[in-house]
């Protein structure tokens, strides 16, 4: 689905970074005059969010901007592409969870940006390993996103991956959160398939996996 960004993606992104809702709404309305809702999402919203996420990673944009723009885009996308819309991506069953921690913001940002990019995924909230393994298998999840905040939780991902992969070797697991940012080898140590530093990474990686799964 990697479509070229529409020229409106740039002013849209600037409006997001400035948290200027009025301008962002106006730019998006302008996009809808030229594009279908799905195209407007794919060519304006997604590239803008990706750019915001990349700028966060480079230290040029702050998390509060990523969060507020993700929330806002999620709203816009829900309005023009309701969850049941057939144009919402045809995609493997996916879910996102916070493992063991009581820190939901990282997950919430990733979830918003994924949904704003047209993905549908289950939000499992916060779970411990046993509950997670049970739910993922019962829901026949193909792609699982795990977010953590503290190191002990990151280390628990290991047991989750081992049990899940034993039951379903085809399941893809993407991990993220501060411990994975600070130790670039940790995702491999815990047996995940990949890690991402930002919500934009999550979108790019899941998209790549979807391509490989088809």
């Amino acid at each position: 689905m990697k479509k070229a960004a529409h020229p409106l993606a740039t002013p849209f992104r600037h409006a997001l970074e400035a948290l200027d809702r009025v301008t962002a709404e106006a730019v998006f309305a302008n996009a809808l005059e030229q594009l279908s809702p799905l195209q407007a999402v794919e060519q304006v919203v997604v590239p803008a969010l990706e750019a915001v996420g990349a700028a966060w990673h480079d230290g040029n944009v702050a998390l509060s901007q990523v969060y507020m723009s993700g929330r806002f885009c999620e709203e816009i996308v829900d309005r023009v592409l309701p969850p049941s819309d057939p144009d919402r991506k045809h995609q493997p069953r996916s879910a996102i969870v916070v493992l063991s921690d009581y820190h939901l913001l990282g997950k919430r940002i990733v979830y918003s940006v994924m949904r704003a990019s047209g993905f549908e995924l289950f939000d499992y909230g916060r779970m411990d390993v046993d509950e997670l393994v049970e739910r993922v298998l019962a829901d026949r999840i193909r792609v699982l996103l795990i977010s953590v905040l503290i190191l002990p939780s990151a280390l628990k991902v290991k047991e989750a991956c081992r049990r899940l992969k034993t039951a379903d070797p085809a399941l893809k697991i993407l991990v993220g959160g501060a411990p994975f940012l600070f130790d670039p080898q940790l995702w491999q140590e815990v047996g995940a398939d990949a890690t991402g530093a930002s919500a934009a990474d999550a979108v790019a990686i899941v998209e790549r996996w979807m391509g490989e799964m088809q």
């Binding site: 948290l19 230290g59 944009v61 702050a62 998390l63 509060s64 901007q65 969060y67 507020m68 921690d101 009581y102 820190h103 939901l104 913001l105 919430r108 503290i150 190191l151 002990p152 939780s153 280390l155 501060a178 411990p179 940012l181 600070f182 130790d183 080898q185 940790l186 140590e189």
Partner: protein, 353 residues
């Protein structure tokens, strides 16, 4: 034989002079429980255990400070919050005490004197002080009024409050400032040498500079001058290079900096206005070899220690439970080997490719 004790070494470095060797602050808190063979929850339940644990760690690792920090959530306990204890990690705050923004309207600042958990910390400080006097700095912690709300109400609700409800944000800051000032001063009165002011929400990782100038910096300017002792502002491994001068302008003496930024650039930006504390990667430390430890220590010293104004430490202000003794001892050994002033070897040191 060292020419200086830990206090002299630290004060000399903070005075932008070269002491006998680079001060090393190994900020271990949870490791005290291991030392005493107690669970983390048991350990923090009695003031004398924490004092004893700290003194044992001091002897073992020969750090240049004692660390009076229990865990961040102990402050929210004073506001009516709960703490969740883990067997193998830092205690975490439980459910938010502010569940709706309107709660802020009727919220009151709790008194430090009435908060048993805070009194326990004060007692630990008094006991440490009785043992070391003025020879070893005792570092205490106060979470910044601007960062505390993440635990009081949740990070998402707090970001929304900052952007969407300034009057309530202002009221919460006013309440929190009173708390932080009272808490910090109580710890200084009990014998703490300095206050580590944890303010990672101000980090450019979390908010843009323009917003920092209106919020986190403004709050720090209203808080720090009322704290009757030196402060170190810690970003808890968040980034701060673009706001380093702005942080210095709050009157703080030290800034705790992240491994995510270049220490040499930070040192240049600090420009002798503030000292730096950092920036070893605590999360990665868990799997360091002695060689890794030596390389990291050498790099930090080479990038920031010349001329003083630098304290070697981890980049978060707390070393994770999972970091083994061998690594901490290897850090100590490397600091002994490479940290002696004058740092003649630094001229020939090359950053790793």
């Amino acid at each position: 034989m060292s020419a200086m004790n830990s206090m002299q070494r630290t004060l000399t470095a903070l005075g932008q002079q070269e002491p006998d060797c680079v001060p090393l602050f190994l900020l271990t808190s949870l490791h005290g429980a291991k030392e005493l063979g107690l669970s983390i929850e048991q350990y923090f339940s009695r003031a004398e255990q924490v004092a004893d644990g700290q003194l044992r760690l001091l002897e073992k690792y020969r750090s240049d400070c004692l660390y009076a920090f229990y865990y961040a959530a102990i402050e929210t306990e004073a506001w009516g919050g709960t703490t969740l204890f883990l067997p193998d990690g830092p205690p975490l705050c439980g459910a938010p005490v502010i569940t709706r923004p309107e709660h802020i309207d009727t919220l009151r600042t709790p008194s430090v004197a009435d908060a048993e958990p805070l009194q326990r910390v004060l007692e630990s400080i008094r006991q440490m002080k009785a043992r070391v006097g003025d020879t070893v700095p005792i570092i205490a912690v106060a979470v910044a009024p601007f960062s505390l709300p993440v635990m009081q109400m949740g990070f998402d609700k707090y970001i929304e409050l900052i952007y969407q409800d300034r009057p309530r944000f202002e009221r919460l800051m006013a309440l929190n400032i009173e708390f932080t000032v009272a808490w910090a001063n109580a710890q200084l009165d009990a014998g703490a040498t300095a206050i580590c002011y944890f303010d990672p929400v101000s980090s450019t990782t979390n908010i843009p500079r323009e917003l920092y100038l209106q919020t986190g910096q403004e709050v720090a300017k209203r808080t720090l001058p009322r704290i009757k002792g030196p402060t170190a502002t810690h970003m808890a491994s968040g980034r701060c290079l673009p706001i380093l001068a702005d942080i210095a302008a709050t009157g703080t003496a030290v800034v705790g900096v992240s491994v995510l930024e270049d220490l040499a650039e930070l040192k240049a930006a600090a420009n002798k206005r503030v000292s730096l504390l950092g920036n070893l990667n605590g999360v990665e430390m868990r799997r360091w070899t002695a060689d890794d430890a030596e390389r990291a220590v050498k790099q930090a010293i080479a990038q920031a220690a010349a001329g003083g104004g630098f304290i070697l430490s981890d980049n978060h202000g707390e070393i994770p439970w999972q970091v083994p003794d061998d690594v901490l001892l290897a850090i100590r050994a490397a600091a002994d080997k490479w940290g002696r002033y004058p740092l003649d070897w630094v001229r020939d040191w090359k950053p790793p490719a």
